[in-house]
């Protein structure tokens, strides 16, 4: 089996628009959560959201490309360009080599709603224009990025709810490990517009702590009252180790384990058993044991049940080891389809810079989380290997293990 390494990363999120800004925010425990008043006017129960500014790509991409590119596609373009630059891959390389893409995305609500509104008014689909079809499909991100970057390898979107980005990386890892591809662009993207999250808000799953937006996301804390939706995009360039060495790429880390499972249970409630299976499968795939993991980036979104089940599963595997745990969602909110990819970027930045980003707002544990070693303040620590969890609606679970290259 071939080894799979990360040779580039890129990020566009509510805590920074590039790797440098995000690394600073992680270190400083900076929250990206705020209030969008439009959500209240629209009828949301909670107006809290990650605040992500849309990039201005008018002078960067031509009109044909921009016309078919939705908001999350813009985020994904910026993150992917940074990752490719980071990996020293330019357009000339992409023209001459086969590069694939697996990207997580599980909705594109805004263009669907906007185009529907036009037809309601005009009673004529031909007055929608050309862009909505390309913006509306779930595969919009891979469809657009493969055209922009002239990708010629495997090309598909992974839709697996809030584990989409993590599974995308897991599948890219499998494809390279088995020799099917040498380089795969992997990542996850998440739209942040108010049209996209109303039906999630309908479940009363979002925090309503509008008095203190930056304290609203509090994974594992006893007084958590729900998650905060957020978004952006994150990209990692996965590459065969030998291929990366041969072309002189800067190797950032090695993806060494991927575990997956499905709960086979409730549509919205997570499961400690399913989480346990994904984590243990990833550890086994990596040829490691639990004691080899130096840090766990938890999925924990700040919901009462989700955090509880994950804490139970982590305790079962790592309880006696007191492995450090934090949820970067305390700062970013829940980046949903993007989260599994962004949390690999966040954790790799921590590994590169030898610190654990804080689980901000963790003040008091509950019955289960109090048994975990939750890092509430930035901690200086050498990380050789980390595990990142992602779980989604329908019971889809993914766990990835990444280690320093040796």
């Amino acid at each position: 089996m071939r080894r799979v390494v990360i040779t580039g990363m890129g990020i566009y999120s509510c805590i920074g628009k590039n790797l440098s800004e995000v690394s600073d925010s992680l270190y400083n425990g900076k929250s990206g959560i705020g209030i969008e008043d439009k959500r209240t006017e629209y009828g949301y129960r909670s107006p809290l959201t990650g605040i992500v500014e849309r990039p201005n790509l008018k002078t960067v991409l031509d009109r044909r490309v921009r016309t078919g590119l939705p908001e999350q596609g813009e985020y994904a373009y910026v993150a992917t360009q940074e990752a490719l630059d980071n990996a020293k891959i330019d357009m000339d390389f992409l023209e001459k080599n086969e590069v694939g893409i697996f990207y997580g995305n599980d909705s594109s609500a805004k263009p669907v709603i906007e185009s529907h509104s036009i037809v309601l008014e005009k009673k004529d689909t031909t007055l929608m224009g050309s862009g909505y079809i390309f913006q509306s499909m779930n595969s919009t991100v891979t469809m657009n990025l493969s055209v922009i970057f002239k990708l010629k390898g495997v090309n598909m979107t992974i839709s697996a709810a809030c584990a989409s980005g993590s599974h995308a990386i897991g599948l890219g890892y499998f494809f390279i490990q088995k020799g099917l591809q040498d380089i795969v662009v992997c990542g996850g993207a998440q739209e942040t517009n108010y049209l996209s999250m109303g039906s999630f808000d309908a479940l009363s799953a979002f925090s309503t702590n509008t008095a203190n937006p930056t304290k609203a996301s509090r994974p594992f804390d006893k007084n958590r009252d729900g998650l905060i939706p957020s978004g952006g995009a994150a990209t990692v360039i996965l590459e065969d180790y030998e291929h990366a060495v041969k072309r002189g790429a800067n190797i950032l880390a090695e993806v060494c384990g991927y575990g997956f499972s499905s709960n086979g249970g409730h549509i919205s409630q997570p499961s400690n058993e399913g989480s346990y299976i994904a984590m243990t499968r990833a550890i086994k795939d990596a040829g490691l044991t639990a004691k080899d993991i130096n840090y766990i980036n938890a999925h924990a979104t700040s919901t009462v049940l989700g955090d509880m089940y994950e804490a139970m599963a982590i305790n079962e595997i790592f309880g006696a080891l007191k492995t450090p745990v934090s949820s970067t969602k305390s700062m970013t909110g829940h980046e949903c389809w993007m989260a599994g990819a962004s949390e690999i970027v966040y954790s790799t930045l921590m590994m590169q810079n030898s610190f654990i980003a804080p689980n901000i707002n963790f003040e008091e544990g509950d019955e289960h989380s109090s048994k975990l070693n939750i890092i509430a303040n930035t901690s200086t620590k050498k990380i050789d290997t980390f595990l990142s969890n992602s779980f989604g609606f329908g019971g889809t679970n993914s766990a990835l293990i990444v280690k320093k290259i040796k």
């Binding site: 031509d62 009109r63 031909t126 007055l127 224009g129 050309s130 862009g131």
Partner: protein, 81 residues
């Protein structure tokens, strides 16, 4: 609407919305070959013409419209009828 107004509005949307190079806007310019307007751009032009001139372009009426000058003529005809 005068012919001059039609040409002005058309040129403006071609430059601002379709992002055609302003220097290329000559009556003899071929819409596809010279101005780079493809079938997808045309889907957008249908929307823009409806918004600016208040009528809907029909594909069959465009069969002989190949240059920018033809396009001005077509719009003028539609508005006068």
């Amino acid at each position: 609407m005068t012919r001059t107004e039609i040409e002005k509005i058309t040129n403006e949307f071609l430059v601002e919305e379709i992002e055609v190079d302003a220097e290329m806007l000559k009556p003899e310019a071929l819409l596809n070959k010279d101005l780079g307007i493809d079938s997808l751009d045309f889907v957008d032009i249908v929307v823009i013409v409806e918004r600016n001139f208040g009528f809907k372009i029909k594909a069959e009426e465009m069969a002989n419209v190949t240059t920018l000058g033809d396009f001005y003529n077509y719009i003028e005809q539609k508005l006068n009828n």
